[in-house]
């Protein structure tokens, strides 16, 4: 629905005066000439307003949620505790670029092996205590060491030491150069909290430096937070207070949103979109995300150890058909690389792998086969729509002489018993913010989640070289080549990249919405306002 028709609708309903309507439409015409289309996510062309309270309906709270930054399994905890209660040293802006947050600047040296973060002056915690270098050191150490049970442990395994230099400089020394390090410290686990005397952080207190103070937290039910008047960012946050309400059931969440019980809902199901689309007071935001769905082939076992068989499998899949029928067009067609278009150094490899029976047969022939039989392990836990996609794939591939036998695995324990263990299976990937981080976790020869057991020497050589490369043009060329190698040689068949689908009331104002993490890179509470 265009903005013009929205105002027209409101005028018809008598919600705005004729004068206001004429003013609005004139403004629209004026801004249209200024390329307003480059801001597809702007709800209104207004400046952010202060005040008001917002209620967010969230799908994924748990009664096991705690304030311990080593946990935070889902967006409820992440957006409340990392995105509202605390800050990181750096922040991922809505456009995917990295900016300073508690650190006002950061500088690499020694081939990106040493990183100096200079802390912003005058930042205070909610209880008035000033931010110190020790707080930062302890907040990082919380996730490190033998005993650590934190989800961020693997990210920090490259950190050799964290030293203090004067009153405002934190110096990270890494085991090897990493040009992406500022991105890694924006990970939601790495929230800065208060150091305790004698080491460790005092996470139980629920005190951070963030845009909102904790008022009430009922795990698995709701969380309420109020504005931090001493926040270190100009003017932010805009809301006086907000509440997250956990509504796990999708139908109940949609109903709460439609009836105005909440102003926002996450995880809007595609099948529930039409009635919301027809409602003039509500909008749907489809934010391209890093999340993608794949069928992964184990390249270390027959028949997938032959690159031609892999290519035949890739050409035998009709991605357009699956995107249309299974994902109802909500998403973007995959091209056998895990790098999302929102990421730095993204490059779409050529040719786009499309459905091509002739090519599939040709590659099978090159592999010395006329037909091939494979087992594809799937379950609804693998990714939503996985079974339907597999059924379509079976039909499509049969025409090229590829016989896919679909194995229905149990939903429960899919990630323990099937993923990384069966030679061909459906996988749901949440992606990573940078190429290096993504490749190191999924495609490097020694990666913990190398589900395709893929060990490409040139790829791994480039991975090490690009990691510490600070010349951006060179780095772009290296990552471009790597994406091409995965596309040509890898064992991943990427079906589609999906969007974060949110429902927003028109009462909520916002700028462009980031898609690296959910909920506007987890910072929706400080970035959005009540219109």
């Amino acid at each position: 629905m265009s903005e013009f028709s929205y105002w027209a609708e409101r005028f018809k309903k008598g919600q705005i005066s004729r004068r206001e309507f004429l003013g609005r439409s004139a403004a629209l015409v004026a801004t249209a000439g200024l390329g307003a289309t480059s801001f597809p996510n702007f709800a209104t062309a207004e400046e952010p307003k202060k005040g008001g309270s917002a209620r967010f309906g969230m799908s994924d709270a748990s009664q096991n949620d705690t304030l311990d930054p080593g946990t935070w399994p889902a967006s409820f905890a992440q957006a409340a505790f990392n995105g509202s209660l605390c800050n990181n040293l750096t922040e991922i802006a809505a456009d995917g670029s990295i900016v300073g947050d508690l650190a006002e600047s950061f500088e690499p040296s020694d081939g990106a092996k040493k990183w100096v973060f200079k802390l912003r002056n005058g930042v205070t915690f909610h209880d008035g205590k000033s931010l110190t270098v020790e707080d930062v050191q302890e907040s990082f150490r919380h996730h490190m060491g033998e005993k650590s049970t934190s989800g961020a442990k693997s990210i920090l395994s490259q950190v050799a030491s964290i030293d203090k230099d004067g009153d405002s400089n934190v110096v990270f020394t890494l085991n090897s150069g990493s040009a992406d390090f500022p991105y890694l410290v924006a990970d939601y686990h790495l929230s800065i909290m208060q150091a305790k005397a004698g080491g460790g952080i005092d996470w139980q207190k629920g005190i951070g430096t963030g845009s909102f103070k904790l008022e009430n937290f009922d795990p698995g039910v709701s969380i309420k937070m109020t504005r931090n008047p001493n926040y270190h960012k100009d003017n932010k946050p805009y809301l006086d207070e907000f509440e997250f309400i956990c509504i796990t059931d999708p139908t109940a969440r949609t109903n709460a949103f439609v009836t105005g019980e909440v102003d926002f809902m996450n995880d809007l199901e595609v099948k529930n979109m039409p009635p919301i689309q027809r409602n003039a007071d509500l909008e749907i935001q489809r934010v391209p995300s890093l999340r993608h769905f794949t069928f992964d082939m184990d390249t270390s076992v027959a028949p997938f150890d032959n690159v031609d068989v892999r290519l035949a499998m890739k050409y035998a899949l009709d991605r357009d058909d699956i995107l249309r029928k299974v994902f109802l067009g909500e998403g973007k067609k995959g091209n056998d690389t895990p790098v999302a278009s929102a990421m730095p150094f993204y490059k779409d490899p050529t040719p786009q792998h499309d459905y091509n029976i002739e090519k599939a047969k040709e590659h099978l022939k090159k592999a010395g086969l006329t037909s091939v039989d494979v087992n594809l392990s799937v379950s609804e836990a693998a990714f939503p729509g996985c079974i339907d996609a597999a059924v379509l794939y079976k039909e499509q591939a049969a025409k090229a002489g590829i016989n896919i036998n679909i194995v229905r695995e149990a939903d429960d324990g899919y990630w323990e018993n099937v993923w990384l263990k069966k030679p061909f299976s459906g996988v749901d990937w949440y992606g990573r913010a940078t190429c290096d981080w993504l490749f190191s976790t999924v495609l490097a020869a020694d990666a913990p989640w190398n589900s395709t057991h893929w060990k490409n020497p040139r790829f791994n050589e480039l991975l090490i070289a690009a990691r510490a490369e600070t010349d951006q043009a060179k780095r772009a060329a290296q990552y471009g080549e790597m994406q091409q190698i995965v596309h040509d040689d890898g064992g991943m068949i990427t079906l589609a990249f999906v969007n974060w689908n949110y429902g927003l009331s028109k009462k909520l104002g916002h700028g462009p919405i980031g898609g690296i993490f959910p909920c506007d890179n987890l910072r929706m509470t400080e970035r959005w306002w009540m219109v």
Binding site: N64, E146, S154, P219, G220, A252, E261
Partner: protein
């Protein structure tokens, strides 16, 4: 007799807790992987499991848990909050919802059952029987969604979200409980009503009822004065069963209306493999059934002079 009943109750509790523990242990995946998500490396998971004592064999963990439970200590949830803190407020919420529902549903069901028995095989009885049959056949989640559609979305009378929080004032809380109470009432009403009706009608063929009729008493008086006291036992047991359901079987309604009760706690704990919480919930559910059945039996005994004064 009573002592025997209570001892049996305890034995059932023990067996239930053991079965639950075994079942949860057999589920694939564990708390460490559930909480750390797929982003956890194997050594992180191992460290976490050790911290929780999950590396011990299951029978050792069960006996440890049992020992603590006997002293009234349900231990720590795996998320390191005391189990009592997690379950306490949720249980209160569920009891609150159950009490409100029972207050409406029990008198209504017995009243309608009596009316159906009085007018049996006439239009009113047919109507009540047909509608109660329909109500029994419709799954409860469907009821819940229909209620939501009519009263929350179309009429805007009540909020669709029953997520009550201590910060709300009582009026708001009650307003938010209307729909779940209404739905639950409809779900349990039919069952209790049909049983009441059947029990009364079965008594109506007995000689002493014929005697009452012959004495020329009115139909209403025959039912209320002569039939009803003799069916207190069967009615009590069906009421007990439904009240137990209100506490232990209310999961679906709680999920649909987002009511923070113990059913949701149990589901959440199962999803996260949080064994201490699952155990405690299972125990509470078992105690509910055992206790309510005990009360129903006592009522049957007390209401029947022949059982009360055995010769």
């Amino acid at each position: 007799m009573l002592l025997q009943r209570v001892a049996l109750g305890f034995l059932s509790l023990l067996i239930v807790s053991f079965v639950i523990f075994l079942a949860v242990s057999m589920l694939p995946g564990d708390f460490a992987t559930a909480i750390l998500g797929r982003s956890a490396t194997p050594d992180t998971v191992a460290a976490f499991r050790e911290q929780l004592g999950l590396n011990l064999p299951w029978y050792q963990r069960y006996l440890m848990w049992l020992g603590h439970a006997l002293t009234g200590d349900f231990g720590q949830s795996f998320s390191s909050r005391p189990v009592g803190h997690i379950i306490g407020p949720r249980l209160l919420n569920t009891l609150y919802l159950a009490a409100l529902t029972a207050l409406i549903a029990v008198p209504l069901a017995i009243g309608l059952g009596i009316i159906a028995a009085l007018y049996r095989n006439r239009f009113l009885d047919r109507l009540l029987s047909a509608s109660s049959l329909a109500a029994i056949s419709i799954p409860e989640f469907f009821f819940a969604y229909i209620m939501m559609l009519i009263f929350a979305i179309n009429l805007h009378w009540f909020p669709s979200l029953s997520s009550i929080r201590p910060s709300m004032h009582l009026g708001d809380q009650l307003m938010r409980m209307v729909l779940p109470v209404l739905t639950l009432t409809l779900v349990i009403l039919a069952h209790m009503m049909r049983n009441t009706r059947a029990a009364i009608i079965s008594v109506m063929s007995r000689p002493f009822i014929e005697m009452a009729h012959l004495k020329g008493e009115s139909a209403a008086r025959v039912v209320l004065r002569h039939a009803l006291p003799n069916v207190v036992g069967p009615i009590a047991s069906v009421v007990a069963l439904n009240l137990a359901y209100l506490i232990a079987g209310v999961v679906v309604i709680e999920v649909v209306f987002v009511y923070p009760g113990i059913g949701q706690t149990m589901v959440d704990a199962v999803r996260n493999r949080d064994i201490p919480v699952i155990q405690a919930c299972a125990l509470i559910f078992s105690i509910t059934y055992i206790l309510l059945n005990l009360i129903a039996d006592i009522i049957s005994i007390v209401s029947n002079p022949r059982l009360l004064h055995p010769r």
